[in-house]
């Protein structure tokens, strides 16, 4: 019970601190604009690319596929980076990691909490992106036809999976010095290519597709598309052989695997970092 209380307290404090760091550098209006401009610009790149080649055929299922995949992929960057980046930020920039580490709260929970702040910001950006798609780009999203319970359950599973992937990365970052700044971005970029976020896996060369099929994010994005735009999502062959409940079960199993692996890797890295005296290291790199 005491362990649970410590975990909850660490999570709460991490989330509060994360929110302060993310948002209190400017006034709320500017912060809100800042939070949506970047993702809107990134989505607009894809929209322009699509519009130029397809001559504005926004009603085609491929557009819905690309748009939704890109919108929800923002959670990958946000949560993964939010959890893992906290190690680098606290250690190198604010130089407070050593103090946080010796406080009687769960360090793992603290890092997960830091990720929550980025989750909230990303959620705002995703909502703005979806609303823009429906209002201006004829995105085929029928709110009444959405399978809300499955969507929310899928979203929860996916975000949990991403948080533990971020934890794994945070463990590795506790041990590394050079290029710590880029690791999160590198992992996010690699997953973007292989997870079928903005194009169906069939477009990848045959020998690269297994990488995509091995990633839980690929299943997560497919599940979200199916819950939001069922028939449109099923027009693509990638997971045509899987029924939606099967997809959900697979995602749940993969998430459990990632949670286990994330916990083990993080604990092992943390122990090593403590033994080797790396927790309070400042590299100035």
């Amino acid at each position: 019970m005491d362990g649970l209380r410590r975990f909850w307290f660490g999570f709460k404090v991490g989330a509060w601190l994360g929110w302060q760091i993310e948002s209190n550098w400017t006034d709320p209006f500017l912060f809100a604009v800042y939070s949506v401009i970047k993702p809107l610009a990134a989505a607009a790149i894809l929209v322009v690319m699509y519009a130029v080649v397809s001559r504005n055929a926004f009603e085609h299922p491929l557009f819905t596929y690309i748009y939704l995949g890109n919108a929800f992929y923002m959670y990958v960057g946000g949560v993964l980076q939010g959890v893992s980046w906290a190690v680098v930020e606290d250690r190198e920039h604010y130089r407070t990691l050593r103090y946080v580490y010796i406080t009687p709260v769960s360090f793992m929970a603290y890092l997960l909490g830091r990720g929550l702040a980025r989750f909230v910001i990303t959620t705002i950006a995703v909502l703005v992106l979806l609303a823009s798609g429906v209002l201006f780009l004829h995105l085929r999203l029928d709110w009444a036809a959405v399978n809300w319970p499955l969507f929310l359950a899928g979203l929860f599973l996916g975000v949990t999976m991403l948080a533990f992937m971020g934890l794994m990365l945070a463990g590795v970052l506790m041990l590394t010095v050079h290029h710590s700044w880029f690791v999160g971005e590198a992992v996010g970029g690699a997953l973007f290519l292989f997870s079928g976020a903005i194009f169906p896996l069939e477009v990848l060369p045959q020998w690269l597709r297994p990488v995509g099929y091995a990633l839980p994010i690929t299943y997560w994005l497919e599940l979200l598309r199916r819950t939001l735009v069922g028939s449109t999502a099923r027009a693509f062959p990638t997971f045509a052989h899987l029924e939606t409940p099967e997809l959900f079960a697979l995602l749940a199993a993969m998430t459990a695997g990632v949670m286990l692996l994330g916990g083990v890797v993080f604990t092992a890295c943390e122990r090593y970092a403590r033994r080797a005296g790396l927790v309070d290291r400042v590299t100035n790199y």
Partner: protein
């Protein structure tokens, strides 16, 4: 005249050409030598951008786009290395130097600040040209992109003028961001994707509305990238925004304006640093 003003004017920076030149070399040196000493850039500065570029190539493949578009993405992807270097290696550099305690040494040293920034720019430019070149060659080989240079001299002129204007802008931003506190990081971060969009890194800039493209031309890479695509990609002229000669003239004007603005802002900041003695304070 106030005492602090008198002090500021009585301690001028040395102005000899030799000192200027040596400072440029000295500041460029670590950026170039790091290429040899820290080999991990091969993975992080080449593999990472290539993966991003590949994703956009596959989007075009999914759309059955003409092959020229794959070339646009590869060339645009290679040029992102310069934009990232200007943002993170130039614009925010003085801010980071302040946070790590080096800025005060720069201000105190007899070396001109303009030379320090120019050294950073030249070092960054050299290292980034190598990175961008590798991305261009690897990307072209991987995706079978055909590049054929129509005219070498205009291409060289476009490339050099683009870099002059771009790094001039970076030098100007470096001074501007020094006036910021913790928000500097966020502003630099904010400039990444919107500029990818406005400068047409992954599509021809003429795909944007005409006046949006005109406004985007104030970002040097917009004109530079468009002109390079016209000169390097077969059939590229068909997708060009303005004639190459006009874009060359625009880049020349931008180079002069940005470098002059950088000089003006740096002088202003140096005066501010001496008069208020607060500029070098860390503001986390």
């Amino acid at each position: 005249m106030r005492d602090d003003r008198v002090l500021a004017e009585r301690v001028p920076k040395a102005r000899s050409a030799r000192l200027f030149f040596m400072t440029v070399i000295g500041r460029a040196y670590p950026r170039i030598i790091a290429l040899k000493r820290e080999k991990s850039w091969l993975a992080f500065d080449i593999l990472l951008p290539l993966i991003g570029v590949a994703a956009y190539v596959f989007v075009y493949r999914a759309l059955d786009a003409p092959e020229a578009y794959i070339g646009f993405v590869i060339l645009g992807g290679a040029m992102t290395a310069f934009w990232l270097n200007v943002l993170w290696g130039m614009s925010s550099q003085l801010y980071w130097e302040r946070e790590s305690g080096n800025l005060v040494l720069y201000i105190m040293a007899p070396a001109p600040m303009m030379a320090i920034l120019l050294g950073m720019a030249l070092g960054g430019m050299t290292a980034t040209t190598l990175r961008a070149g590798v991305i261009l060659v690897l990307g072209s080989l991987l995706f079978g992109v055909e590049l054929s240079v129509q005219a070498w001299l205009p291409l060289l002129a476009v490339f050099l003028l683009s870099l002059a204007a771009l790094y001039g802008m970076g030098m100007m931003f470096a001074s501007l961001f020094l006036l910021f506190g913790r928000e500097a990081w966020h502003w630099v971060n904010l400039l990444q994707e919107p500029v990818y969009l406005l400068s047409g890194f992954y599509f021809p800039v003429r795909s944007l509305a005409y006046w949006v493209a005109v406004l985007a031309s104030f970002i040097p890479l917009t004109l530079g990238l468009d002109a390079m695509r016209q000169l390097v990609i077969p059939d590229g002229e068909r997708y060009g925004f303005l004639p190459v000669s006009v874009e060359l003239a625009g880049l020349a004007v931008l180079s002069v304006v940005f470098i002059a603005a950088a000089k003006f802002l740096l002088d202003y900041l140096e005066r501010l640093a001496k008069q208020e003695a607060r500029l070098t304070e860390s503001r986390k």
